[in-house]
């Protein structure tokens, strides 16, 4: 264990704790743009800098181990100046259009500018010019909003392992790019959207969700993906009784199977819910055609016909197929219906298919 002083408060932390974690334990709110607990460290955004007595330079707390006896100030004048200047530098390369941005209200750049009162950039000059249309149907990439945190690159490599994106060019021209700068479709991208999940700003957004509502407008409902057996936890975003998007939950406890990671189906495959082809009325075949009817009619007719068959041919002339896509409760009820109500064990589902 080591003891250090942070903003006048003494804290004791295990050896190997990062200065960032130590500051947070001490109750200091340290801003970060490139840090992500699940990804390798970059140490590049420099927003987490703090002042350590005896050090000439400011120290990036995310990549510096806490040391015995350190005297740390997390909001000194120099620290605040550095953070402000970094934000202004980022703003100067940022297409500032919060009024139409998907991430308005859920954007770290906004949050930190608000926190440090950064209205405008004194470094305005050449405007960002990185935007390039990517014609895939899932992900919009607008690098005119990119703040170069490289979290997307790391998530792509370290969560999914697709290695679809990396840095291209150097210095101010550095930009996130696929190999040969092709569209994502022609890269090794598998459209898992992990990059969207980690992007702290509106640079990467889901094309499927675009324009359907901002995070703060939506209600969030934690549930489980409807596709494969992995059972990924996800959060449905709801606005006006419609599902308008999907969020990851990056918490082991709430999202035990996937810790927020999703695949293309889980992240982008939800808009069938409001497909115009959804069945909205019961149908009964009349004169060879399926016609919409009331529930009363459909249910009465179903019961009547099932009873007839049962009376005429016996319980075992009826079979029931339950579903690997409905809930446990529904599966239970349907097998109960088969066994206790119809009186047959002819129940199965396509577990094997």
């Amino acid at each position: 264990m080591i003891t250090l002083t942070i903003d006048g408060k003494r804290v004791t932390v295990p050896k190997g704790t990062s200065l960032l974690d130590a500051c947070r334990i001490a109750g200091a709110d340290i801003p970060t743009l490139c840090h992500d607990p699940e990804l390798s460290l970059a140490g590049s955004c420099r927003m987490c800098v703090v002042e350590v007595a005896g050090r000439r330079n400011l120290i990036a707390s995310c990549v510096t181990p806490a040391e015995e006896g350190m005297q740390v100030e997390t909001e000194s004048e120099a620290v605040i100046e550095a953070r402000r200047i970094i934000l202004e530098l980022l703003l100067a390369r940022h297409k500032l259009e919060c009024h139409v941005c998907e991430r308005d209200g859920d954007c770290k750049l906004q949050d930190y500018c608000y926190r440090y009162g950064v209205k405008d950039s004194r470094f305005k000059g050449e405007e960002p010019h990185f935007y390039k249309e990517d014609p895939n149907p899932f992900i919009e990439r607008d690098y005119d909003k990119c703040i170069m945190c490289t979290k997307c690159i790391r998530a792509c490599a370290e969560i999914t392992g697709a290695f679809a994106i990396n840095l291209k060019n150097r210095g101010h021209n550095a930009v996130i790019s696929t190999a040969f700068d092709l569209g994502l479709k022609d890269s090794t991208c598998v459209f898992c959207g992990q990059c969207i999940m980690v992007c702290p700003v509106g640079s990467l957004v889901s094309k499927v969700e675009k324009g359907r509502g901002r995070t703060y407008q939506t209600e969030k409902v934690r549930t489980v993906c409807t596709y494969c057996g992995t059972g990924c936890t996800l959060e449905l975003k709801v606005l006006n009784d419609r599902v308008v998007g999907v969020n990851s939950i990056r918490d082991e406890k709430l999202s035990p199977a996937n810790r927020g990671a999703l695949c293309v189906k889980g992240r982008f495959g939800w808009d069938f819910i409001d497909s115009p082809e959804r069945l909205k009325e019961p149908l009964v075949r009349k004169n060879g055609e399926l016609m919409p009817v009331s529930w009363e009619e459909a249910l009465d007719y179903t019961a009547k016909r099932l009873k007839e068959v049962k009376e005429k041919w016996g319980s075992d002339s009826i079979a029931v197929f339950t579903s690997a896509r409905t809930t446990n409760e529904e599966n239970y009820l349907l097998q109960k219906l088969a066994r206790a109500v119809i009186g047959t064990n002819n129940i199965d589902h396509c577990a094997r298919l």
Binding site: N57, T64, A92, A174
Partner: protein, 406 residues
């Protein structure tokens, strides 16, 4: 006698640097021989006692650096930094051209001290002839049997200035994008391929054989007490005698210019001198009466750096010079961290504006704030040092700037 003291360059042009035998004839590989009879710890002690400090620019104690390498790691590397990307600097090239075997010997001694079996020399991309020279030198040393089982491989650099930064250099050897890593962990603990690695400059390594051969006390007695030994300087700019010299470290900067350099071209007056390469501070004439050693330079807000000395005469437009330097850094920033990637770019924009007569006093203020933040918050030495030439020119030559403002 002009006051030069030649140790590394004593036999310049008198021996063939490729030939181990030539070097052995003038006393070479004695240090290595001696080191083989010592325990690793003793070698490190000897280097510490010599007070040798890194000649790559940061001036860190070489013995200390070696002592940080964990003893029991199974694999370790020795890496020589021959990237020499600093414009106006070519002293490492000269050392190789004149005395390559001393570099190899120094690396081999380091390998013994830390327990490495393999070394790399990372050579600047613009020096293909040095790669050839070094390969021949290595072959000759191998033939002579002096290196024993220590293996040295020469790698060609990627042509980026930032690859001279030791961790970017390591990334580059690993075949990755040449971007600095954050420190700690320092290369001594986690370097090339993740194992302990010593990275030293060519000149640093080349000093080692002489320290072992003649003893630490001898070395420590030369030049400035806290930065002893000699330093190879390269002199460029408006100077009568633009060439290289090896001087003791307590040599005066004014003597470099007026004695070794033969004074300013055309008898003009000195405007400023920049020491240490592009990222060095500009020193006004009133401060040149200072010893060139690391600490004395620091005291006047400058740095010895790689030992490049760039002399400007009174006719030079210092704002224009500073703008060019801003452009250099804008081009060389690797782009990893925010303060430098965006800062060098905006710095160049503002400097261009001022230089073209479109700048305002506000620009000047903004440059100073930006300078401060870049120096304090950039990830590596490039971003930290990039604003220094600009800041020092504003400090010492403010009127030159004011004249150009709108």
């Amino acid at each position: 006698m002009n006051g030069e003291k030649r140790i590394l360059l004593e036999y310049a042009d008198k021996i063939n640097p490729e030939k181990a035998e030539d070097y052995i004839k003038v006393g070479g590989y004695k240090g290595l021989e001696k080191a083989r009879k010592m325990k690793p710890k003793q070698i490190i002690e000897e280097v510490k006692k010599s007070k040798l400090r890194g000649r790559g620019g940061a001036g860190f104690s070489t013995g200390m650096k070696w002592s940080f390498v964990p003893e029991h790691a199974p694999v370790k590397y020795v890496v020589c930094n021959l990237d020499e990307g600093e414009p106006g600097t070519y002293k490492d090239r000269i050392i190789c051209e004149k005395n390559a075997q001393a570099l190899l010997e120094g690396m081999a001694i380091c390998a013994l001290a830390i327990g490495a079996k393999k070394g790399y020399i990372y050579c600047r991309g613009e020096y293909p002839h040095i790669v050839r020279l070094l390969n021949n030198a290595i072959e000759s040393a191998k033939k002579a049997g002096v290196l024993e089982d220590f293996d040295i491989e020469v790698r060609m650099g990627a042509g980026a200035y930032v690859c001279g930064e030791e961790t970017a250099l390591i990334e580059s050897i690993e075949g990755k994008r040449g971007e600095p890593r954050f420190k700690p962990p320092f290369p001594g603990v986690e370097g090339l391929w993740g194992v302990p690695t010593v990275v030293n400059n060519v000149e640093t390594f080349a000093c080692i054989p002489y320290i072992l051969t003649h003893g630490a006390e001898w070395f420590a007695s030369i030049g400035a007490p806290d930065y002893p030994g000699t330093k190879v300087l390269t002199l460029t700019g408006d100077i009568n005698n633009p060439t290289y010299f090896e001087v003791p470290t307590d040599y005066l900067l004014s003597d470099v210019i007026y004695k070794l350099g033969g004074g300013i071209k055309g008898g003009r007056k000195l405007k400023a001198v920049q020491v240490g390469g592009s990222s060095g501070a500009f020193i006004p004439p009133e401060n040149i009466h200072t010893s060139i050693d690391f600490d004395s330079m620091s005291r006047i807000g400058a740095s010895l750096g790689s030992g490049a000395v760039f002399v400007l005469d009174e006719t030079r437009d210092i704002v224009d010079v500073a703008t060019r330097i801003a452009k250099f850094f804008e081009h060389e920033s690797c782009g990893k961290c925010n303060p430098c990637r965006e800062g060098t770019f905006r710095m160049y924009e503002m400097m261009q504006r001022i230089n073209a007569g479109r700048g305002s006093e506000e620009d000047l203020e903004n440059i100073l704030v930006l300078s401060r933040v870049m120096q304090k918050a950039s990830l590596c030495g490039l971003g930290q040092a990039a604003p220094i030439p600009i800041e020092t020119t504003i400090k010492h030559f403010r009127e030159d700037y004011m004249r150009k403002l709108m």
